[in-house]
Structure formats: structure tokens, C-alpha cells
């Protein structure tokens, strides 16, 4: 085993080193140099991304570390996206944490360990690695949700998340153990070659548990109950974190487990996913209509968007997975901006999470309102913004695989969805501000990042080709 064997895992190695260093630095730096940790963390993310670009690139699929770990172009792209999204999320969050006196080193360390979990999951090639990644990510996130320990709501959200998440982990582990027991292998590659029709009923049972766990992690109906409560209860910066980078990991989870490892059971899981997708689209969109809390509305919007991601898997073709990947990346980009707006609109003692807080935002803060409008139109799927192409791609793969009714349902549901996104725009642009609200904060770097976020949504919408190609290339 030479040093070169470790090169594809450079992202994980850098992160692990960074976690240790930052923990130590933070412990010795003390209260007075609290600003050191956020800067160091961002630096670590930049270095990690740079090292991944220089040393971590692989031209084709490589299985490493006794078959536990897989390195392929897909993993590289997803990891780079993870670096980027987490860095932006942490950038948006800093002032919010400061205002609530929860700017502590642990927050950043937990974010990094969560990212490590995401990476492990992305590169998993064995059921064990999958489970390791899922748990590392989940445990870090549970702690993050409870980070504001004086807040009762946050504690309640964390509790709910933890208990339900534990059940989902149990289901995942149980499903894995059944499949391991019947096939005698943990290796996803071997599983893929061993599992084919006719299937043992036990395998299907195991698969069912795995699908339940994946659905829970993604937030697909009826396993979505945790999501609105956690989104609403967690500190907004944590909601931002949960709503973005982990989605990439759960996309990878579904891809590695279902589409690659359990490819032989596609007939079974695609039926299950069809039911989940239909329920998710309907419940997510309809329930979002009646929310009065923006974070909760965005939670249901997440659920609705997950429905579209699942539809990509239902198509069951490489094009379908590429469409799901494109949708995931686009969704995360937009979610990043939307929660970023909430963070920036808030101030000390003012959460800015009720929809009514956004009345007349245009008057108070034209930039925030403009960014939010772009993001809302994008999620609603209106060109020239990138969200349109994500939806279009899903429609395309559904037609190609002959799912007429799903196309019609998804089209109808995107009209229902348009209503609640329009409502946010209506509040910001058409209504007058209700009373005096605290002026939004001026933080130039963050504003610049948020502006760039919106510009990216527009540019990727005008010229969607490169990202679409990238997704298709790494999946095939």
C-alpha cells in the first residue's frame, strides 16, 4: 500500500486533520479569540477543496481500502459541492450565531464532522461504510439542532429528530442485516452482481426497511414528520445547514444503495418509490400552502422538492439518476440562498421566521427582497432561473421511461407549489410593512455572497448546459 492509494481519500483526510487541529486551537485560543475558529474552518474547507482538485481526482472508478471505499468522478464532484455549500452556509451563519451568543468552536467542529460523514457516505462501497457515514452525519446534526441549549423549542426539535432518527437508523441496520444474512456479503459491488430475479422474500423485506430509512433521511412522505418540526425548531443557521449539504449525502445514499448496490431489486424499490413520490408531491405542496412560518413553509417546500428527486430515481435509468443529481444540486443552491435571506433579515431578538415579517421587505432591504424573489421564482420552476431546468429534466426522464401519470401529477403539483412561492413575493413586494421592524443588518461580504448566489441561479438558468453535462457525465 503506497501513499498514492490514499490520494483519492484526500478530502476525508484533510477534514479529519482539520477537525483535530480546530478542536485544539479552539480549546487553547480562549474566549477572546473566538473569531479564529470560523476563519480557520473556512480556510480548512478551501484547502480541502483545493487538495481534492489537485490530488483527489480520479479518471475512473477505483475501489480502495479492502472494498470499503469507492472513488469515482461522481464522488469528486459531490465532495466539491459539499465543500462549497458548507463553506457558504458557515459564511451566512456567523453573524446569526454571534447575535445569539452561540458562536462557539464546537459549532464549527460539528459542522466539519457532519461534512466528514457526508463524504464517507458519498464514497461508501460497503453496507458498513454506508452506516458509518449515516451515523456520523446524523449524530453531528442532532447535536447541532440542540446547539442553542437555552431554547426549549430547539431542544424539543432535537429530541424529536434524535428519537425518530434512531428508529430510522434501526430500520436501516435491520434491513442491511437481513440482506447480509441472505447474501453473505457487505460489499455493494458483490451485492449488485449477486442479487437478481427471482428474489428471495427475505431480500425484499430487507429492501423495504432500507427504503424506509432512505425515505426518512430524505424526508419523503409518510416518513417526513420530523422535518417541519426540526426546520422550525432548530436555530436558523442549523436549518440552513440541514437543508443543504446533507441533501447531497442522502442523494448519494439512495444512489449507492438502491441504484448501484441493490440494482437487482429495482423493480421492487421503484414501485415503493413511486408511491412515496406521489404522496410526497401531494402532501408537501398542499400542506405548504397553509403555513404561516417561513421556515416551516420552506420545510414543506423541501418535502415537495424531495418528491421530484425521488421521481428521478423512479425513472430508473442513468439519465434519471443524473436528473435527480442535477435537481439535488440546484435545490441545495436555492435553499442555501433562501435560508441565507432569513439569516440576514434576522437580528438580535428577532428571528424573521414568520411570513408576516417579510411584509414590505422590499422597502427595508431591496437587495434581500430581490434575491429572495429570484430564489422563489426559481423553486417555482419559472425560467429564466435554474429551477426550471431541474424540473424540465425530471419531466424528460419520466417521459423517456413512460411514466405519463407521474408527469401530469408533477406538472399539476408544480402549479400548486407556485402559489406559495408567489405568496412570499407578494408579501415582500406588494404589501406594506406592518409596523416598525428592525432594519436588516449590513454585512458586505455576506451580502455579496448572497448576491452571487442569486446571480448563479440566473446564470445557470440562462446557460444550463455545462452543469447538466457534468451531472450526466459523472453518473454514466
Amino acid at each position: 500500500m503506497s501513499l498514492a492509494t490514499f490520494a483519492p481519500a484526500v478530502a476525508e483526510i484533510t477534514l479529519t486533520v482539520a477537525v483535530c487541529v480546530i478542536l485544539l486551537v479552539d480549546a487553547f485560543a480562549g474566549e477572546r479569540r473566538r473569531r479564529l475558529t470560523p476563519t480557520l474552518t473556512l480556510l480548512a474547507l478551501v484547502i480541502g477543496a483545493a487538495l481534492t482538485v489537485y490530488y483527489g481526482q480520479v479518471s475512473e472508478r477505483q475501489v480502495l481500502f479492502e472494498g470499503m471505499y469507492v472513488a469515482d468522478p461522481l464522488a469528486v464532484v459531490l465532495k466539491l459541492a459539499g465543500f462549497l455549500f458548507v463553506a457558504v452556509a458557515l459564511l451566512y451563519s456567523r453573524a446569526y450565531l454571534e447575535n445569539r451568543n452561540i458562536l462557539r468552536g464546537e459549532y464549527y467542529v460539528l459542522a466539519l464532522t457532519a461534512l466528514l460523514g457526508i463524504f464517507v457516505l458519498i464514497s461508501a462501497n460497503s453496507l458498513l461504510t454506508v452506516y458509518l457515514g449515516v451515523e456520523l452525519l446524523a449524530l453531528s446534526v442532532y447535536a447541532l439542532v440542540a446547539f442553542d441549549r437555552d431554547s426549549g423549542v430547539s431542544a424539543e426539535a432535537a429530541m424529536k429528530y434524535f428519537v425518530l432518527g434512531a428508529i430510522a437508523s434501526g430500520a436501516l441496520l435491520y434491513g442491511m442485516s437481513l440482506i447480509y444474512g441472505l447474501t453473505g456479503t457487505l460489499d455493494l459491488g458483490t451485492l449488485a452482481s449477486q442479487l437478481h430475479a427471482p428474489l428471495n422474500a427475505g431480500v425484499v423485506l430487507g429492501l423495504t426497511f432500507i427504503v424506509v430509512a432512505v425515505a426518512f433521511k430524505l424526508g419523503a412522505v409518510p416518513f417526513h414528520m420530523w422535518l417541519p418540526d426540526v426546520y422550525e425548531g432548530a436555530p436558523t443557521s442549523v436549518t440552513l445547514f440541514i437543508g443543504t449539504a446533507p441533501k447531497i449525502a442522502y442523494f448519494a445514499l439512495a444512489l449507492r444503495l438502491l441504484a448501484q448496490g441493490l440494482a437487482g431489486t429495482e423493480a421492487q424499490w421503484s414501485q415503493m418509490l413511486t408511491v412515496l413520490a406521489v404522496l410526497t408531491l401531494v402532501v408537501g405542496n398542499v400542506v405548504a400552502l397553509v403555513q404561516s412560518n417561513l421556515k416551516r413553509m420552506l420545510a414543506y417546500s423541501t418535502i415537495a422538492n424531495v418528491g421530484f428527486i425521488v421521481l428521478g430515481f423512479v425513472a430508473g435509468t442513468p439519465d434519471g439518476y443524473a436528473a435527480a443529481m442535477y435537481y439535488t444540486l440546484v435545490y441545495v443552491l436555492v435553499a442555501l440562498g433562501s435560508f441565507g435571506v432569513i439569516l440576514l433579515a434576522s437580528s438580535r431578538g428577532f428571528e424573521a421566521d414568520r411570513l408576516d415579517d417579510y411584509k414590505g421587505l422590499h422597502r427595508r432591504d431591496p437587495l434581500l427582497a430581490l434575491v429572495m424573489m429570484v430564489l422563489m421564482f426559481s423553486t417555482a420552476g419559472v425560467p429564466p432561473f435554474v429551477g426550471f431546468w431541474a424540473k424540465l429534466r425530471i419531466f424528460q426522464v419520466l417521459w423517456e421511461s413512460g411514466h405519463l401519470w407521474l408527469v401530469i401529477l408533477a406538472a399539476a403539483m408544480s402549479v400548486v407549489g407556485a402559489y406559495y412561492y408567489l405568496r412570499v413575493i407578494k408579501l415582500m413586494y406588494f404589501d406594506e410593512p406592518a409596523g416598525e421592524l428592525p432594519a436588516a443588518r449590513r454585512e458586505l461580504p455576506v451580502r455579496l455572497a448572497l448576491g452571487l448566489n442569486a446571480v448563479a441561479v440566473l446564470i445557470l438558468g440562462l446557460l444550463p448546459g455545462p452543469l447538466l453535462d457534468l451531472c450526466a457525465r459523472v453518473i454514466h
Partner: protein, 501 residues
């Protein structure tokens, strides 16, 4: 003249973004920039007409650049005899809108001009796109500025109106998108020409036709999916109403001609009676509805629906003509009428909404009952208003007459009863418009407020005067317009009657 269409699309959009960046603080410069940009666009639309070869049905001024290689979607532009006049109309109608808002819009003026300029570019894009995906891109993007225009500068019920407008059109459009993608999967690319050439079974054609019908009928709008229009018109600011009536409604008619008829000719033949029936209901029933309106804008909105009924009638009466006479002679006349009607209605309805805007700016009321005897205080305005009202009623010598007359003659070839019902509108149209004029313009001065009215200022005179000239020119001498459309319409008729089965 390579790249002319691109300039027509992107110049107003760039100018709009610039006005937005200048902001409300420097709106003086912003206004002039908006005016110069819209006038330049109009000036550039002139060579589009003069360099257009009227002897050819082929796409002219073609542009082709790769856009999304994965979908084989191209940035492909081009115009034929149907789209070119509509682009000129768009460029023409944006100028009065910019001028009309000059001193009236004092809330967020920069965004107001930016919205209209960006929308101008997007609307020209809709007519110029020869790639279905690009067409849809512009078609949907256009909703955003209109949504904001009605929502920000509209009347008291603007929020209801604008959300209704957006959701109605969005609902129609997503099913059109689904149909387009279905055909893309079969044809392999998004070019409109290859979609038109794609062989489709009758069942496929029926589904596709219905999806298109949903999208275009909402836009036209046809009875019974017209209900968003009166709301949107009443609440929109004057400029919004003008663009909505003059251009946006035409996109529905354009869609029928560009997509429905050539792509699904057999389904169109099979379901033509449905469209004809809906058109006649629009013409007759909505005519009666217009008669009882108390609000000037609502009256004109309903009159728009009735007049647009002629467009869909003219487009679909082709099949009945072939069925009854067995020959193609005269089949093109219905479509000629439909096209002239679109252009003419664009001018007349735009002008009428501007007239209402002139009154509204002075008295802040759109209620017919608040006016009366306006001619005594505003004689110049009154003469313009009467001219446009007569044109709306289809008086010979005005553009309103040409389109309606052609459609009625064409439908006479199909069936006496269609022609009779369509001709009813001439009576109804005269009734509701002239009664409107009688109550608003003529009669004794009803109130001291009307007595205090000031006549048109220079800006308004120029705008209404230009429109009046256009209405009369198209009415007296429609030959040039008919000439540029002729080959394209012949080609379209042959596509529409050729079976794909």
C-alpha cells in the same frame, strides 16, 4: 442584417437592467433611457419589415447558436409572415407605454420602466424563437414582469388579480411543456420545424392538441377560461393593460397558428368544432356581458375577449370550409382575417386602454357613471376616443373592419350560421362601444369634476395620434400587411390540412 433579431430581444432587456441599476434617484435619466431604448427598438424593427422578403414562406433573418447540446436545443431565431408583423407590433406598442407612464408613475418608477423594457425583449423572443424550448423559455419568463407590474402598480384588488393571472397561465403552460417534452423524446430535438414534421398517431395528436389548447386558450383567452382577464385588466396600471391586451393575448393566437395547427392537424380537424363553438360563445355571449359593464376597463376587457374570438374562429374555420366546399379556395382567408384581427386589435385595444388611462389620470375613476359630457371639456381627446371606439365596433376604413370582415366572409363559406353568429358581434360591438362613448363622451357635463377636466397634453396627443394613424392606415390600406403574410399563410393552410396519419 445578421443578428437583428437578437438585438431586438436583448437591447430592451439590457436597457431595462440599466434603468433598474440607475434606480429611482436618477429616474430622470432612466426615463429618457427607457424612451430612447424603446424608440431604438422600434427603429430597428423597421428594417425587419423592409428587408423581409414577402414572396417566401421560409424563416428569414435566421440565427442559430448552440445552447444546450445535451437536449439538442438551440438558440434559434427566425421570422416568417406570421411572427414578423407581431414583432413590429410589440416594438410599436411599447413606446406609447413608456410615454404614457412619464409623469404618472411616481412609485418605484425605475422598476416600472425596467419591467416593461425587459418584457418587451421577452415578448419579441417569444415571436422570434424557432426552437420550442427557447420559445417556452421566453413564454414563461414573460410572466414574471407582468406579475410584478400588476402586483406593484395595480389597483386595490391587484394581489388577487395578479396571482390569478399567474396561476391560470402557469397551469396552462406546464401542460404545454409536458407535451413539448413528449414530442422531444420522440423527435430527438426541440426545433419547431422538426416537431411540425413529426409523425404522430391520432391519439397522441389529441392529447397534444388538448395540452396546447389549455395553454393557448388561457392566453387568448377563450370562454370559459377567460375569467382572469377582466380582473387582470381592471387592476393593472394603464401600461400593463395596454401590453396585456395588445401583445400578450396575441401569443395565444400565435400559438394556435405556430403549434396546434401544424403539429396536430388531424386532431385539429377532429376537434375544430369545439374551438369554433367556444369562439362563437366568446363572440356572442361575451358581447352581451360587455354590454352590462359599469367599469370602462372591464368593458374593454370583455370586448377584447369577444374580438379575440374572431382570431380563433378564423384559424379553425379552415377545416369546415374544406369539409363543406371540398376545396382550399378561401381557406386562407380565415387565417388572413385572424392575423389582421390580431394586429388591429393590438392597436385598437391598446389605444382604448390608453384613453381610459388618460381619463383615469385626471379623475381617478374608471366608472362609466362618473363621466359624461367629456367632449365639452376635452374635445381633442373626445375625437380620438370616438375614432378608436368606431374602430372597435368595426367601422369600414379602420383596421377593425378588415379582420372581422375577412373572418366573416370565410366563415360564410363554411356555414351560413357561423357567419350569422359572428356577424352578430358587429351589432353587439357597435352597441357596447357606442353606448360607452355616448355615456362617457357625449351628453351634458355631469359633475363639476368633469367640468374641470383639462384636454390632452402634448405627450398624450402624440401617443394617441400615432395609434390613430396606424389604425387608419391598416384600415384603408391593408394590402402590404396581407402581402407579407400571404406565403406563410398558404404554407400554414397546406400544413394544417395535410394529414399526419
Amino acid at each position: 442584417m445578421h443578428g437583428l433579431l437578437s438585438i431586438l430581444i436583448w437591447l430592451p432587456i439590457a436597457a431595462g437592467i440599466l434603468v433598474l441599476l440607475l434606480g429611482d434617484a436618477r429616474i430622470g435619466a432612466g426615463r429618457w433611457l427607457a424612451l430612447v431604448a424603446s424608440l431604438t427598438t422600434l427603429a430597428l424593427a423597421v428594417p425587419l419589415w423592409t428587408h423581409f422578403d414577402p414572396g417566401s414562406a421560409a424563416l428569414q433573418f435566421p440565427e442559430l447558436a448552440p445552447w444546450i447540446p445535451r437536449f439538442k436545443a438551440f438558440y434559434a431565431l427566425g421570422v416568417d409572415g406570421i411572427s414578423m408583423p407581431l414583432i413590429v407590433l410589440t416594438a410599436f406598442m411599447t413606446v406609447p407605454v413608456v410615454i404614457a407612464g412619464w409623469s404618472v408613475i411616481d412609485m418605484r418608477p425605475a422598476q416600472y420602466y425596467a419591467a416593461f423594457l425587459i418584457m418587451e425583449g421577452l415578448m419579441i423572443g417569444v415571436f422570434a424563437a424557432t426552437d420550442a424550448l427557447l420559445f417556452y423559455f421566453f413564454w414563461e419568463a414573460m410572466l414574471i414582469p407582468m406579475f410584478l407590474i400588476i402586483g406593484i402598480w395595480g389597483g386595490p384588488r391587484r394581489v388577487y388579480a395578479t396571482i390569478k393571472f399567474f396561476l391560470y397561465t402557469f397551469l396552462g403552460s406546464v401542460f404545454m411543456l409536458a407535451a413539448l417534452i413528449y414530442m422531444y423524446v420522440k423527435a430527438g430535438d426541440y426545433s419547431i420545424a422538426s416537431l411540425q414534421a413529426l409523425p404522430l398517431t391520432l391519439i397522441e395528436q389529441r392529447w397534444i392538441f388538448c395540452a396546447f389548447l389549455l395553454a393557448f386558450a388561457v392566453k387568448v383567452p377563450m370562454w370559459p377560461v377567460h375569467t382572469w382577464l377582466p380582473d387582470a385588466h381592471v387592476e393593472a396600471p394603464t401600461g400593463g393593460s395596454v401590453i396585456l391586451a395588445a401583445i400578450m393575448l396575441k401569443m395565444g393566437g400565435y400559438g394556435f397558428l405556430r403549434f396546434s395547427l401544424p403539429i396536430a392537424p388531424d386532431a385539429s380537424r377532429e376537434l375544430d368544432l369545439l374551438v369554433i363553438a367556444l369562439s362563437l360563445i366568446a363572440v356572442v355571449y361575451i358581447g352581451f356581458v360587455a354590454l352590462v359593464q359599469q367599469d370602462m376597463k372591464k368593458l374593454i376587457a370583455y370586448s377584447s375577449i369577444a374580438h379575440m374570438g374572431f382570431v380563433t374562429l378564423g384559424a379553425f374555420v379552415v377545416y369546415e370550409i374544406v369539409r363543406h366546399t371540398g376545396s382550399l379556395a378561401g381557406a386562407g382567408m380565415g387565417m388572413d382575417g385572424a392575423m389582421v384581427q390580431m394586429i388591429s386589435h393590438g392597436l385598437i385595444s391598446g389605444a382604448l386602454f390608453l384613453c381610459v388611462g388618460v381619463l383615469y389620470d385626471r379623475l381617478h375613476s374608471r366608472q362609466i357613471a362618473d363621466y359624461g359630457g367629456v367632449v365639452n371639456t376635452m374635445p381633442v381627446f373626445a375625437s380620438f376616443m370616438v375614432l378608436f371606439a368606431l374602430a372597435n365596433a368595426g367601422l369600414p376604413g379602420t383596421s377593425g373592419f378588415v379582420g372581422e370582415f375577412l373572418v366573416i366572409i370565410a366563415s360564410f363559406r363554411a356555414s351560413f350560421w357561423y357567419a350569422l353568429l359572428a356577424a352578430v358581434t358587429l351589432v353587439l360591438g357597435a352597441a357596447y362601444t357606442l353606448w360607452l362613448v355616448k355615456r362617457v363622451v357625449f351628453g351634458p357635463v355631469v359633475s363639476p369634476r368633469v367640468a374641470g377636466l383639462k384636454d390632452l397634453n402634448g405627450r398624450e396627443t402624440v401617443v394617441l395620434g400615432a395609434l390613430a394613424v396606424a389604425v387608419l392606415v391598416v384600415g384603408v390600406w391593408p394590402a402590404p400587411l396581407l402581402k407579407v403574410m400571404q406565403p406563410t399563410i398558404q404554407h400554414l393552410v397546406s400544413q394544417a390540412v395535410a394529414s399526419k396519419l
